[in-house]
Amino acid sequence: MSCEPWQCAEVAATKKANPITKPEVAVAMIKRAARPLLVVGSNATERSMEGRSLIDFLIDFAKASKVQVVATAHMVGEFLKRGYTPAGFMSAMDIGNRLVDPSWDGLDGKGHPDLAIFVGLPYYMEALILSGLKHFAPDLRTITIDNLYHPHASWSYPNGSLDDWANNLKVMTSRFEGGQ
């Protein structure tokens, strides 16, 4: 496990993501947030662990945690195919652009998210959007639940294997289901 940016040149200057050392840290952060939002990108169907697609792990997590999901690209169709309806869908740039606008009241119009959780966008796109949020949404906390270290997030898992990733997602889900 290493806290180096996954793509070598994606370095940050003075503000670098804190490492999420174990899934419980991420769970605590999400539980503490009043209005968390999970942004799911197109790699959700491109990555698989333990014979299951990433999107299936994410549906379990979203159901357990009740965190609102916004699907980017064409992922909404992939969620619907699996019987899960995300709270919203829009392009990755649109959701980033709304998150930097403090007057945006979220997908349900009830208030601006205070925590944005990212997963499954192409690494460089996710890095850039997280950078945009780091610079222009100072009050928003961001975390990624990918298995790749994202320096521009507020919190990120270090680079890890697919097994680590599957385990992290499962533990996170189970903690919301009331497991120990």
Binding site: W6, Q7, C8, A12, A13, T14, K15, G41, S42, T72, A73, H74, V76, G77, E78, L80, K81, F89, S91, A92, M93, D94, G96, N97, R98, V100, D101, W104, L121, P122, Y123, Y124, M125, L128, I129, S131, G132, K134, H135, F136, P138
Partner: protein
């Protein structure tokens, strides 16, 4: 043509479209007294002449910055950390810096195209004189230079006129670049406006370059049936000497082709090209061959196909010369802009240069005389070919298996790969004799070589990918249509109405480079989807090649399957990078020829027309360069939306509308002066899309325009809804924003749409005569 200094000052002037007040135009040189069209308000705009227009667009489509770097290191006060609101030692913040980088990129792009144009025009004037007449399509193209007419107010008729046009562009680029100096512009939106200006000047420079070369080199002249050109390395007869030309500037290649023809060798040798030079070569000589886009430079040099490599300018990998040396292919550098450290041999006798290159005494030479390049390249290729035919730098499969065993599984290759390809896994499998995973990488690899640079045990990963993909590579035999150049005036006349009324659902232009996220097939798929839907599909440059690189079930490439005319269901290759203004020019000509709006120095009105009425959208799926940035900028300032593929997010700034803010979508109804909400049409001006599915849905949606008639809108909506349902599995939830009256609703989708309209509390509205410009209102309100 005459030249004189002019200053026009008008207190008040009534025109057909409204009242112009306090107009003050200074023009260094006004040309062409014989042109009857009256001069519009903004000939040869300065940095701020069109600022109000830019600000109007930038208010509708606000920048969303994605800083690619937290630092600025442009002056010795720095490096400055600009993280999250900190200002640098000069007072600059990260929004300013991000927009400054956008401006710098656009200036580099504009300078590159204008530099290219300057080289071509000066060379041709020297050879053929200033009075050489321009002809881009005979009687079929009376509006020969729509962008130039629009921006500068000049109607160029001779090569000498183009010189005047370029002088204007060069002055603007100098001013624009100076804006990027520390302690100049202090506001990000003003940087953005200047980036738009760079885009305008860029379009002019490209147009100049292309109309000069079309006229003098007799390229296809607005020809819908420009020849089909063989494409792919599999079409190259490798028993013949092969000259490989890489870059963008056709002038040295013309020298080569002319010499071959003179010596009656044109069927005894192969001239192949990579990147835009490839396309322009085929416009000059239809037996020239296109072997691939920019990303395949390493592939084909390393593959040992070239007997001599001729490098001109732009997008030439800076290690092409080193790679050519590895396979003992002599190199000729043929551009002042790319001398590669070679000795300048321009004034040496050709045979001496040939002897030095053939003997290997020198690996490469600089020759700045295109005719000498021709003679030397042909002679060297002939002599070298028999000696080096079998020389390749690709290892055998057995060698790959052995070398792969050295892998330390450190992942550095994958972490350096811009595509995040699973190289370590593929190398591990290769060490076991299973090459299938390496072969899988062939299509997605963009040939950057970064994996090799990162590998601690110096495995030549890219070469391995090429070796296992060799069979596929050699079977590449396709067709690309040679660049046709401009769109004919008569074509505009027949489709102008259907475009503006919305009955042709849109013009989609797939342009730009080959930095694709998953190979070029996406470009083919998108082109075909929209051609089948009877959009007008336009292509240029590397995208034009990718569009032609795949076949349908009947074995036909796109260019064989669809006609090459500017018509519903046509697939048009306009040409190389510098041919892109024919795409903007087509939109401009719709305003001019179909709607009879005056072009001359009348930028704002025409851009307003295009933005509100011409359903055109650009997609640069693999855009990588600064030139692609300035090309996009030229479209933004005309109000034409541009999409980029995922790597395009690294341009670090999007221009996004907010569909959820109704106040952003008001236009004036020019008939009444009333403000009318027309919904987010088009929703964005510059946006990154993540997947081809998303691109298709976005293209259909971005073709919506406020001016669509009910019939046109219902056609456009039916495509949007259909693609949305197919790729997103659901009705578009924002459909209520685009339905103005029930007549807009596609008949076959009435029930589904009506349900959404009810849920959303939709209310009927009017279809205005839309404009963003108060001065275009014909009837002032009391």
């Amino acid at each position: 043509m005459t030249s004189k200094n002019v200053r026009v000052k008008i207190g008040e002037m009534k025109t057909s479209t409204g009242l112009v007040k306090n107009l003050d135009i200074s023009i260094g040189k006004l040309v062409d007294d014989s042109w009857e069209e009256p001069m519009g308000p903004t000939p040869m705009p300065s940095l701020t002449t069109l600022r109000n227009w830019d600000l109007t667009l930038l208010n509708k489509y606000k920048p969303f910055y994605l800083p690619d770097c937290d630092l600025c290191c442009l002056c010795t006060y720095g490096k400055c950390d600009l993280t999250a609101g900190k200002r640098g030692a000069c007072g600059l913040n990260i929004a300013d810096q991000s927009s400054r980088i956008v401006l710098i990129a656009c200036c580099i792009g504009a300078a590159t195209h204008n530099g290219h144009a300057r080289h071509v025009v000066d060379h041709l004037i020297e050879k053929y004189g200033r009075r050489y007449p321009l002809d881009v399509g005979g009687l079929n193209v009376k509006v020969e230079a729509p962008v130039t007419r629009l921006v500068t107010g000049i109607r160029p008729q001779t090569l000498g006129d183009l010189d005047e046009v370029l002088t204007y562009c060069e002055s603007q680029i100098t001013h624009l670049l100076s804006v990027a100096h520390t302690g100049q512009e202090a506001n990000n939106i003003d940087f953005e406006s200047k980036a738009f200006h760079a885009g305008r000047v860029d379009q002019v420079g490209m147009e100049v370059a292309d109309i000069a070369q079309i006229s003098v080199f007799d390229f296809p002249k607005a020809d819908p049936e420009a020849p089909l050109i063989k494409m792919g390395i599999g079409t190259v007869d490798q028993t013949k000497p092969v000259i490989m030309c890489i870059g963008h500037n056709v002038v040295p290649s013309v020298g080569i082709i002319d010499y071959m023809k003179e010596q009656k060798l044109d069927d005894k040798m192969e001239v192949v090209g990579l990147c835009c030079t490839a396309i322009d070569n085929t416009r000059y000589f239809d037996r020239a061959k296109i072997v691939g886009p920019i990303s395949w430079e390493l592939r084909f040099i390393r593959g040992g196909f070239a007997d001599v490599v001729v490098l001109d300018e732009q997008c030439v990998r800076t290690d092409c010369s080193l790679e050519a040396e590895r396979v003992k292919a002599p190199v000729i550098a043929a551009s002042e802009k790319n001398c590669i450290g070679y000795k300048d041999r321009t004034n040496d006798p050709a045979d001496e240069i040939v002897a030095d290159l053939v003997s290997g005494k020198v690996p490469g030479v600089l020759i700045l005389d295109p005719e000498k390049v021709g003679e030397v390249a042909v002679k060297v290729a002939q002599k070298v070919a028999p000696m080096r035919k079998k020389m390749k730098s690709l290892p055998t499969l057995e060698e790959i298996r052995e070398l792969a065993k050295k892998c330390r599984h450190c992942n550095m290759c994958q972490r350096s790969c811009p595509q995040d390809l699973k190289i370590p896994e593929a190398i591990t499998a290769a060490a076991e004799g299973d090459y299938s995973k390496l072969a899988d990488l062939y299509e997605e690899c963009i040939g950057c070589g970064r994996c090799e640079e990162a590998c601690p045990v110096k495995l030549e990963i890219h070469s391995y990918i090429l070796k296992v993909g060799e069979k596929k590579m050699l079977s590449e035999t396709n067709y690309c249509r040679s660049g046709r150049g401009a769109v004919q005036d008569v074509e505009i006349r027949s489709v102008g109405g259907p475009i503006v009324l919305g009955e042709i659902p849109g013009i989609v232009a797939l342009v730009g480079c080959a930095n694709y996220p998953h190979g070029g097939k996406d470009v083919y798929d998108i082109c075909r989807e929209f051609a089948l839907r009877r959009f007008i599909v336009m292509t240029s440059g590397c995208s034009a090649m990718s569009a032609g690189s795949y076949k349908n079930e009947e074995g036909k490439t796109l260019y064989e399957e669809f006609p090459g005319g500017f018509e519903a269901g046509g697939v048009i290759n306009v040409g190389s990078c510098v041919s892109n203004p024919h795409i903007a020019g087509a939109a401009i000509k719709v305003a001019n020829i179909f709607a009879k709006r005056s072009l001359r120095g009348n930028y704002e009105e025409i851009a307003d027309y295009i933005h509100n009425r011409v359903g055109a959208v650009g997609l640069a799926w693999g855009a990588y360069s600064q030139k692609a940035a300035s090309i996009a900028s030229g479209f933004w300032s005309l109000g034409v939306p541009v999409l980029v593929g995922p790597h395009g997010s690294k341009y670090r700034r999007m221009l996004l509308g907010r569909a959820d803010k109704p106040e952003n979508w008001e236009v004036y109804d020019a008939r009444t002066g009333n403000k009318v909400n027309v919904g987010p049409a088009p929703e964005h001006l510059f946006q990154t899309v993540e997947t081809p599915q998303e691109a298709m849905v976005a293209i259909a949606k971005l073709c919506l325009r406020p001016n669509d008639t009910w019939k046109g809108r219902s056609i456009k909506l039916s495509h949007y809804i259909d693609l949305h349902k197919r790729h997103y599995g659901i009705m578009p939830p924002d459909i209520h924003r685009f339905v103005r009256t029930m007549a807009d609703v596609p008949m076959t989708m009435k029930d589904e749409v009506t349900k959404i309209l009810k849920e959303k509390g939709w209310k009927e509205t009017v279809i205005p005569d839309p404009t963003l410009l108060p001065r275009m209102i014909r009837k002032k309100k009391e």
